[in-house]
Symmetry: D2
Subunit: 280 residues, 4 copies
């Protein structure tokens, strides 16, 4: 179990959202309200688009709430698009190469959830990867495998469709091995321009996922809030858990759906369903 | 807020008590029931008496629940006397030199609690230390200052009396500076032969502290428990929180008191009250 | 490039050999004389047989020369059989799961050297592993792959023969992929009773490897040395580099050979040559 | 022994100077040519002026050459003024609070060298600090004490004069304690506008220190070098060791002198000599 958040909008100092928000993601790392695991202290990751080639990554195995470097970076890096992730390890080691976001070229990927029976399926799934992606695997999480499968299935062309194929492939692999398939997921994906979010579970309720409302709505609801007054109509947050208990500010992303957020106020929603994967 | 435990008795593999006990200290690091802070993920420390000169220390800044090295050590080190501590940092950095136990020669020291207004009193308290102890300070916690003050006030001759002088000195220093004095503490001390525990708060309730009952009592209460069947009459645990909800196994150590546990079934209890410190 | 040492003999405090020896392995971590890389600061590992089930592991990403925990453990753990390893990373991340020794049941494994073109061969080699071993891979080094291949090829029955098959398999895999095969290696292996060491390179000189002479020879050469006076005839050290410039104390293990050291003064030497691996 | 570098000039991606320069500071961390210690693997620090309030800090206890986060930050952070430091610990623990630069408000401070007999003088020197600075000490290095003494002696008004008083105070303190005084130092200081560098040793040769020549000189010497072609006349580097063996590019800063570099091509040099400190 993990928690993640994504921001797309005007450039902001990252700690505005990471540390200064009530019940923000670092606070959630210490005591989440909605998650299966209340503590997410097994590593932190931040990926941001800014200067330099490709997005930058900061991966730390220290709990987010006590990481002095994270506080420094958040207070001194400004970004118009970033993804942050706090991790609660379930089985795989606490190490930087297991921290989200994962990156390939200009793409970032985060995940809250798990692949059921991953240990048993790992070999089959890694064989299904393209050899170049196999060679690039550095950690031991299910998420890195999901990401590299999706890259081989066209993530860079159509991320939602590629994830539908990836989920389909994982579910089929589980069935072929006589296992009950289970993909439990909210995914966050970005290419530096758009931010996609997916919410899905093979069975039962999926992990929670919310998007912030259009800025004008938020400002109208809370006309006296100085922070909200600065919000622009292009600004959007995608979060595992709402930052604070503000009615009207958060829209739940329905299960089995995907959204795309992009500059100019784009907020597209579409259904998400596993597709059978082309034979690799 | 922190949690600690001490064992004195027959040699045991440390993980018997650290990991295999229901609601043991590592479990408490993730979700304490009685503490002010439910998560104690800001470092771990273990001090044990065994082979080699003086007690050994293992200090880690990783949360106890995810520290692979800690699991290895606990599963492969046997000791008849050890102290373990999980830390929830309140202000001072998460670094190995701030992890308990602190050590001087053959002595180990752990602390759950805090010195009120420590930042304001730190200079006065460090000046009150003996110069050699000042030079030896490596970290920035209140506990290390308490320990080194107590060493200068005779901890190695009479640990309880030295701590009474130390607490008196701290409270006087606070008053002299116009502060409301506050020492909130359970202390654990050992010289490799005895284990002392102190429970005290200047005002209000002190942090919780418990000792395990005499082994024969425990065995009678739970005649079918294989673990308890192995308990010998000399075996004693001192803990911040009872390991499990077993009525009759735990005796609360009263506030403003000290206990000494030693081989041969020694379990001495005495009152604890601040003493005015000799002028350093 | 890395450095390792193994001890089999009377129980010793580990720091006798790790820190107190002139030009010992921790000293080598800071400035090796014989290696391709003079600094081996990318992690440390220690595996020892003692109390508890199976051998214990301590893996650290801090440089060996500055790791306070390592000094503590070495000064307080006694062992009759241990392996220590300092790492100079070549390509793979500095993380605990990439630190040697690797362990499976009662077996430990260390490696100085590399598999040529590992990134290109990794997928083929991991497919050649038994599925259970594939699932158990936690890190991203070539050594972990070599170890798990060897386990599938009978390491637990005949470690030298299994390593001959493993090296053969790796070289064949390289050739099949149109690569010049290259296995550069000194391997250290133990089951808790014997200590095996292998020295081999596909082409050119292999990494250096030495065994200490029979204790009686050492004592005769240096009759006034108090440390050597304590040596027993069963005691043997295997090292990447001689600990000090003591003529007569060290015997070079010839290239393309394997030795087995065991209690009772056993010191068997045999040739080592790649064998074609049975099709997995 | 340590190494440091400072940049003041046009905004650059930090890795241009940190990783891409031949024999740059990260390379020096692995094998310095001029230092007393060839390896500087006991922590790294970077302080930069950019967005956000005050300069930012990144402190790491991993060796600079293997720190994935450092590579990420350097490749994605642009700054017109930054200080970087690699540490070789001499006595004090390897921990983030002992990493340079130290910071107070808008000021950064780095140091290569040491205070002789620091352990014996530490108490006296800390007592000489202003109480607020005493309270703010987080680590255990001599450098943090030097910095906080200098702050109390007017660093923010006149950094060179304050350091002259600080060095005088330290030397007097040593003499008063019957010790041979020894301050061995190159200091780097910045307020975000200027960059000051000091080179001094109480006796014998001081640590090496160099400034880059005026950009036009560098370009004339190496007309075909694309990197140098981009240099502007305001750009200046201050370094412990020249980055590469380029004759003409580096000017040694004489012993017992201070320089100030500032925008507009300012490069002022002045003598540096200890002053008796006002009684605190």
């Amino acid at each position: 179990m993990c928690r993640w958040m994504g921001w797309l909008g005007q450039p902001v100092l990252i700690d505005e959202l990471l540390f200064k928000s009530q019940h923000g993601i670092v606070d959630q790392s210490l005591h989440s309200r909605m998650g299966a695991e209340p503590t997410n202290g097994d590593g932190f990751g931040l990926g941001w688009y800014g200067v330099g080639e490709h997005p930058a990554l900061y991966h730390s195995v220290a709990p987010a709430w006590g990481d002095a470097n994270l506080r420094e970076l958040a207070a001194h890096i400004e970004s118009r698009l970033f993804l942050a992730h706090v991790r609660a390890a379930i089985g795989s080691p606490v190490q930087q190469t297991n921290c989200h976001p994962f990156r390939h070229g200009n793409w970032l990927f985060v995940h809250n959830g798990f692949v059921g029976d991953f240990r048993e399926l790992r070999r089959d799934l890694m064989l299904a990867m393209e050899p170049d992606h196999f060679a690039a695997v550095e950690g031991s999480t299910d998420t890195e495998v999901v990401f590299r499968l999706a890259l081989g299935l066209g993530l860079e062309q159509d991320p939602v469709r590629a994830l539908e194929h990836t989920v389909g492939l994982i579910e089929e692999t589980a069935r072929r091995r006589g296992r009950e398939p289970m993909v439990q997921a909210t995914f966050g994906v970005s290419d530096g321009e758009s931010l996609w979010a997916v919410r899905y579970a093979t069975t039962g309720p999926a992990r929670s996922l919310f998007a912030s409302s259009v800025a004008s709505t938020v400002r109208e609801l809370y006309p006296d809030n100085a922070r909200f007054a600065r919000l622009k109509d292009d600004d959007r947050l995608i979060v595992s858990e709402p930052f604070a208990d503000l009615p009207g500010v958060w829209e739940e992303i329905p299960q089995s759906s995907a959204v795309r957020v992009a500059p100019g106020g784009v907020f597209d929603q579409s259904p998400f369903a596993p597709l059978s994967a082309p034979v690799p």
